[in-house]
């Protein structure tokens, strides 16, 4: 019987684990949909993933988090650095986060952007700071959950390979 050296677990047990990990992934996604964190656009994204682009969803979401992080930082600076905020720039940044959030199915972040845009249109600085706080909270929640999701996906992929190892 084969063993995976690092884990000292039999191959058949690791392979069995792939099913459990798949269930974990499904439960996590179901939770995120139920909470309204993600919408069906995320499923469309997953459907685009295939053998020619096996990490498509991971790549797209990584770019999304990288770009959103910069935009959120810029928003913070725009609202805190000067006495009078540049609401045109704020709106541009919020629109950018909103657009990319729609594209990956980040529903609650998108909704937070809609609310942010409304207070920004009123030139309401206090409102914008509150909106930014909410936006950051939603962003961090999604980021943590998707990080968890991709970790499970990676473990599942390893476990599946352990179950069906390539012949020597």
């Amino acid at each position: 019987m084969g063993f995976v050296r690092k884990t000292a677990l039999p191959l058949w047990l690791l392979g069995w684990g792939a099913e459990f990990l798949l269930a974990d992934m499904s439960h996590l996604l179901a939770l995120l949909f139920h909470q309204g964190v993600l919408d069906e656009q995320f499923l469309h994204l997953r459907q685009l993933q295939d053998e020619t682009s096996p990490n498509f969803v991971y790549e797209v979401t990584s770019i999304y988090f990288r770009e959103s992080e910069n935009l959120l930082m810029n928003l913070k600076l725009l609202l805190t650095e000067k006495e009078h905020s540049d609401y045109t720039k704020i709106k541009v940044h919020v629109n950018q986060i909103m657009g990319s959030s729609s594209s990956i199915g980040a529903n609650r972040i998108r909704n937070a952007c809609v609310a942010f845009r409304a207070v920004s249109d009123q030139h309401n600085r206090v409102g914008c700071l509150r909106a930014l706080e909410l936006l950051e909270k939603e962003y961090n929640y999604l980021k943590n959950k998707l990080h968890e999701f991709f970790q499970i996906e990676q473990q599942r992929s390893l476990a599946a390979r352990a179950r069906y190892p390539l012949p020597n």
């Binding site: 685009l48 790549e59 797209v60 990319s100 990956i104």
Partner: protein, 154 residues
């Protein structure tokens, strides 16, 4: 066309964005293989998304980062059946680019795609010459309906 679908090629373009990439995708021999498309969007996420959508449907496609690059590529002689045009872009936005392309006599189907829900912006986009407008994000179903219209138009 000899280039693998999904291959990324760094464009030595005059775009102001140093991270602008052009995607070249060969036809995968699908039913939409005859159609050529141009994706005009400054968002890298949407570039990837629309490129992948078109690729999966076997549509040969090119991606540019702003309206000026869309105009320049037509000036260079390239032609497309379908142009997916975003509104808000640096250098030249989608409304201006659409206007310029129509003034040049470009008869491609131009589909405006944006997250704008403001009526006056949509109206301005339509007045500039787009054939239809879709809210982001574009899905396979929406894209298929656009491609079917192009095929029936021919």
């Amino acid at each position: 066309m000899g280039i693998d679908a999904g291959m990324w090629k760094l464009a030595g373009s005059s775009s102001s964005s140093s991270t602008c990439r052009r995607f070249h995708a060969s036809s995968l021999g699908g039913s939409s293989g005859e159609v050529k498309a141009l994706v005009v969007d400054d968002s890298r996420i949407n570039q990837m998304l629309h490129h992948k959508l078109l690729d999966n449907l076997g549509v040969e496609n090119l991606v540019v980062c702003n309206g000026k690059e869309a105009v320049d590529i037509h000036v260079s002689g390239k032609q497309f059946d379908l142009i997916l045009m975003d509104i808000d872009m640096p250098v030249m936005n989608g409304i201006e680019a659409t206007r310029k392309l129509r003034d040049m006599g470009i008869r491609s189907v131009i589909t405006g795609i944006s997250s704008h829900t403001l009526d006056h912006v949509k109206q301005e986009f339509i007045a500039a010459g787009i054939d239809e407008y879709h809210e982001k994000p574009l899905t396979s179903a929406k894209l298929l309906s656009i491609l079917n219209k192009i095929k029936h138009k021919d």
